[in-house]
């Protein structure tokens, strides 16, 4: 029986151009590089078994990583050492915030939905002008979650239709 751990994190950067670097190849390289620095050849080999970037959202900077259950601690301890993302010969400083570690994609998705709603509410409270407030209120009221019927299986994701704009 294959056991995995799914690590949900968000990419935070002061430079708005960093968003274009949020792609699976650049992120995977940056994380592997951090694991090599912190845990050496052994750590890299250990974590690279079944390591993939499962889900990315460049708008919110949300990233879902998968690794083996035996080596998720090595991965999680190396994530704070990711300091920049590089893509197309451009490097931007950033850091990763770990939000949630779960055993299935479904638990991470449930957490993400709840986290996104609290974040939206907080953004609404921190609005500086009325225009932004109207905009966010409108998109909050218009978003909907579409559930597709899917066969049971931990590997499959339900369709997440929440709009975060």
């Amino acid at each position: 029986f294959r056991l995995f751990r799914y690590v949900l994190c968000e990419v935070i950067s002061e430079d708005p151009r960093c968003r274009q670097c949020i792609e699976d190849r650049a992120l995977g390289l940056a994380i592997r590089d951090a694991i090599t620095r912190v845990h050496g050849d052994y750590g890299l080999a250990c974590c690279s078994i079944s390591f993939t970037v499962k889900y990315l959202n460049a708008y919110t900077g949300t990233v879902l990583l998968r690794c083996r259950k035996d080596s998720y601690r090595l991965l999680c301890s190396a994530l704070p050492f990711v300091r920049s993302l590089e893509s197309r010969a451009q490097r931007y400083p950033c850091f990763l915030n770990t939000l949630h570690v779960g055993g299935t994609i479904r638990t991470c998705q449930k957490f993400l939905i709840q986290y996104n709603t609290t974040q939206l509410l907080r953004l609404l409270q921190n609005c500086t002008n009325e225009e932004e407030r109207q905009c966010i209120q409108k998109s909050l009221l218009s978003c909907s979650l579409t559930e597709e019927p899917s066969p049971s299986g931990d590997e499959e994701e339900d369709d997440d239709g929440t709009e975060t704009d």
Partner: protein, 133 residues
């Protein structure tokens, strides 16, 4: 096939530090590392295999003989496996081929067997077969 003579004694108490007697083999007759370079070599080995976490392991070189390139290392018990694996997989010193031979391992400071440089590693002796058949 030459069988190396081993001896294994098991101590019950969990020890805080583990001690290793090692010997560095440098087959080419070049310059020998001094004590500081030897420690640097051990830390480099840990850094390659286990990264920053490995290089930060508290490893001490208790004794070092430059003539025979043998030393006694002390490491905290939780890092024992990391140190031994790193020494095993180190292959180069200043672009020269080298190898670490781990001669003896003890969980406490005293009770070293006399150093026998000619034989191989002395870690486990299989019990002599008794004459039952």
């Amino acid at each position: 096939m030459a069988a190396a003579a081993f001896e294994r004694r098991v101590l019950r108490r969990a020890a805080e530090h583990h001690y290793l007697r090692v010997r560095l083999e440098l087959p080419d007759g070049g310059a020998r590392p001094n004590a500081a370079q030897f420690k640097q070599l051990v830390v480099t080995a840990l850094k390659e295999l286990h990264g920053e976490v490995g290089a930060a392991l508290p490893v001490d070189v208790l004794t070092y003989e430059e003539k025979t390139l043998s030393a006694i290392l002390r490491v905290i018990s939780s890092g024992f496996v990391k140190l031994w694996s790193a020494l095993t997989l180190l292959g180069f010193y200043q672009n020269r081929r080298c190898a670490f031979r781990v001669l003896q391992v003890r969980p406490c400071r005293a009770g070293w067997l006399p150093p026998d440089v000619s034989s191989g590693s002395k870690l486990d002796r299989l019990p002599k077969p008794t004459a039952f058949s």
